[in-house]
């Protein structure tokens, strides 16, 4: 017989898990909302006292300061909103260049660490162990101050084939000047890329159905590179180059790559490549040797084994940490401020903030840019993980 006392045993209300859970959450919510309100209230009173008006109206005002480097047209007469855009584009530029170079160098390092050649493996190990244990800021300073600023003056610049010049003021390269008809070549180039994508899809489908293979790679190369090139020369090469030349004390013409960009790019590349090298090594080592043997047993030759069996499995391990390294690189590019490269943080959160005093709006906008970047990358990562996850049982 059941004991009625037992079945209805009363737990004290503070020992009831549901009650406790709700109570904790209510307390937490009150604390969080309370402290946010407290901070907000303080900010409002402080800003009122300092005479700062809130709102984004300042973005339309004239900035009145120059920026060292800009990918879009910009001078003192443009607005503060424009400075945001200039900084953002500069950040994206150095991140993009850094990501490409770091990926290439990182993959080389990762493969080199696994090389059967003892000397090459050891050199790659030393590179990785040294570079990733030094602060990035130190490396940026080293390249900027100890290397690039000690280069000769413009008159004694290093001269490469009379068209590339390197000196303490920067790296001068010839700038391409498109002439009439070049648009056709570009149009053809993009059309070829689209055509190759469709060709690859068609070839894949045909191989699934009939087993016949189609040389997608080489036909793609032909479409994307050879066809536009032939048309380019048929049209009479509608492009000329603007060569830099020494006039007075400095070079004129061509494209100037400022030393700040070079230093930042070099440091970001070499630092991130050390991490990417480790990721690539772990990825390759993560694919067990049995996979290679199984592929060989099925009669695949060495090339297809690598391309169809090893690399896809290694990429599954490599890509998630690789994207977070890309994100790190983009965030680390904000160290540009330290050497004066005009990136988003340096221009917008630095000069613009100092001139306008609109701290809250500017910090919020800057953080929003980085948050958007990182949240979209992590969204991509989740999508990728879902697509690539092993389907088991």
């Amino acid at each position: 017989m059941a004991d009625p006392e037992r079945t209805q045993s009363k737990t004290a209300i503070w020992n009831d898990p549901t009650f406790r859970s709700i109570a904790f959450q209510v307390i937490a919510a009150v604390l969080i909302v309370g402290s946010i309100w407290y901070l907000f209230d303080n900010t409002m009173t402080n800003m009122e006292r300092r005479g700062i008006t809130t709102g984004f109206g300042f973005l339309g005002e004239t900035s009145g300061f120059g920026i060292l480097m800009s990918l879009i047209e910009y001078d003192e007469t443009h607005t503060y909103g424009r400075t945001f855009l200039v900084g953002l584009l500069n950040t994206l530029l150095v991140s993009f260049l850094g990501i490409i170079a770091a990926t290439i160098l990182g993959f080389i390092l990762g493969v080199a660490r696994l090389s059967h050649n003892w000397l090459i493996a050891k050199i790659a190990t030393v590179y990785v162990e040294v570079l990733r244990n030094l602060p990035l800021l130190l490396q940026i300073f080293f390249w900027y101050i100890a290397v690039l600023q000690t280069l000769p003056h413009p008159r004694q610049s290093f001269n490469f084939a009379d068209s590339f010049f390197l000196n303490a003021r920067g790296f001068y390269v010839p700038g391409p000047v498109p002439e009439s008809g070049f648009g056709i070549v570009m149009l053809l180039f993009f059309a070829a890329i689209v055509a190759t994508v469709f060709l690859a899809r068609w070839a894949h489908k045909r191989q699934d159905q009939t087993g016949q293979q189609f040389p997608v790679f080489w036909s793609g190369v032909g479409l994307i590179i050879v066809v536009p090139l032939v048309v380019f020369y048929l049209l009479g090469a509608p492009m000329s180059f603007d060569y830099p030349a020494l006039r007075g004390f400095n070079f004129q013409g061509g494209i100037t790559i400022i030393p700040e960009l070079i230093a930042l790019w070099l440091a970001l590349t070499m630092y991130t490549a050390a991490f990417i090298g480790e990721i690539v090594r772990a990825g390759i080592q993560g694919v067990s040797h049995g996979q290679t043997e199984a592929a060989h047993a099925l009669g695949l030759r060495h090339g297809p084994t690598l391309r169809l069996v090893i690399i896809p499995q290694a990429m599954r391990i490599i890509i998630p940490p690789l994207t977070s390294q890309y994100l790190n690189l983009a965030k680390n590019s904000s160290l540009a401020t330290a050497i004066g490269y005009p990136d988003l943080v340096g221009v917008f959160m630095g000069t613009t903030l100092n001139q306008t005093g609109q701290a809250v709006e500017i910090v919020a906008m800057t953080m929003a840019v980085y948050l958007t970047m990182s949240l979209s990358i992590s969204a991509f990562m989740n999508w990728f993980n879902k697509r690539m996850a092993l389907v088991e049982r």
């Binding site: 969080i32 303080n42 402080n46 003892w118 244990n133 953080m367």
Partner: protein, 366 residues
């Protein structure tokens, strides 16, 4: 009857054993490999020899000013030797540097023995290095009591400041990270949402903008009259930032613990905190030691960023010293010195983590 006597074994071919064999196997196994080896050797010869010559053979180590370095082709280490006090102590009053010396000594004494397997008092020493050590150092460095002269934080600097920021950051970020990670995996939606938002917010922005924010925005957030020290603001920024990263590392460990462990702990009647403290966290933290130490290393390297908001850590003092016109072009020497300091600590930490990982790798051994 003739007994069968085998001939003695022939020695292996000379080319497969010993030094020659090693060379053939590791450096000249194929024509391509041989070409690469020779190319790399040539490259090493053209870079390493001048580098060694610069750093050691043609370098100057003694002297008092830049006249000692005139007309030499190598490094001017005289500069580093002469400025070593600024690099170590920053602008701390010269008569009081013995206080920092005691702290350095305590640091070595409380962390050094942890590297030795046989040292018997590891636990009490570990407790001391987390409790007594920072308190003693704070009173010693800041002064103002026990008859010691007060030294403002503006005067703290150099390697001492770097180590201080790194120590505080590391010691504070780990518990914050654990709490955030537990919160992120909590069943309570309010707490979970808050932790996710907090972690993603800090992880999504660069540290430099966090430091900017802590120096520009914090005064706005606080009521009139409340004013934090610049160093404290930087410390808060760095701790918040790194604890978010720490939380993600620890979450990885928590996710790797099988459900059975939670259920077994609950079946034994353990409360949430006892279950976490006694069963789950010891296993989870052990799993992610490499990740935790990597976060420590990242934090240590990130301390250099405080120079952007005007604190004088070791990199900032080097930066200031190399622009001093009393010395010529000594930028490389200064940076090499700073790099060596950072490298020793970071590399030491990564080696220690590998050792710890091996030692704690119990249970899965075959």
């Amino acid at each position: 009857m003739k007994e069968f006597k085998p001939l003695p074994d022939l020695p292996p071919p000379v080319a497969t054993t010993g030094f020659v064999g090693w060379l053939r196997e590791n450096l000249f196994s194929s024509p391509l490999n041989s070409v690469m080896t020779l190319a790399v050797l040539y490259l090493l010869y053209t870079t390493l020899v001048p580098a060694l010559d610069w750093a050691f053979f043609s370098a100057v180590f003694t002297g008092d000013d830049k006249t000692a370095c005139e007309g030499i082709t190598g490094a001017c280490w005289t500069f580093v030797v002469n400025r070593i006090e600024i690099f170590t102590y920053g602008s701390y009053p010269a008569t009081e540097t013995w206080r920092l010396d005691i702290c350095f000594l305590l640091l070595v004494l409380s962390f050094g023995p942890q590297f030795f397997e046989k040292f018997p008092y590891k636990l009490p020493l570990g407790v001391f290095s987390l409790t007594g050590f920072p308190v003693i150092c704070y009173f010693l460095i800041a002064g103002g009591s026990f008859g010691l002269e007060h030294v403002e934080t503006e005067k703290w600097g150099g390697l001492a400041l770097t180590l201080m920021i790194a120590y505080v950051g590391i010691v504070a970020a780990l518990p914050f990270g654990v709490v955030l990670a537990l919160g992120r995996r909590s069943d309570m939606p309010v707490i979970r949402t808050f932790c996710i938002a907090f972690i993603e917010l800090w992880r999504g922005v660069p540290l430099i903008s966090v430091l900017f924010m802590s120096s520009v925005m914090l005064p706005l957030f606080l009521p009139e009259g409340v004013n934090f020290d610049k160093l404290l603001r930087a410390l808060i920024g760095i701790t918040m930032f790194q604890s978010a990263y720490m939380a993600e590392v620890i979450r990885g460990g928590l996710q790797a613990i099988p459900r059975g462990q939670y259920e077994a702990a609950q079946a034994l009647g353990l409360s949430y905190w006892r279950m976490m403290g006694l069963i789950i966290l010891p296993q989870a933290l052990k799993l992610v030691i490499p990740g935790i130490v990597n976060t420590f290393i990242a934090l240590f390297k990130d301390t250099t960023l405080v120079l952007i908001i005007g604190l004088l850590d070791i990199l900032a003092t080097v930066q200031a010293a190399i622009t001093d016109p009393a010395w010529g072009a000594v930028a490389t020497e200064g940076y090499v010195f700073a790099a060596a300091c950072f490298w020793i600590f970071c590399f030491g930490m990564s080696r220690y983590s590998i050792k710890l990982e091996k030692k704690l790798h119990t249970g899965h051994k075959r």
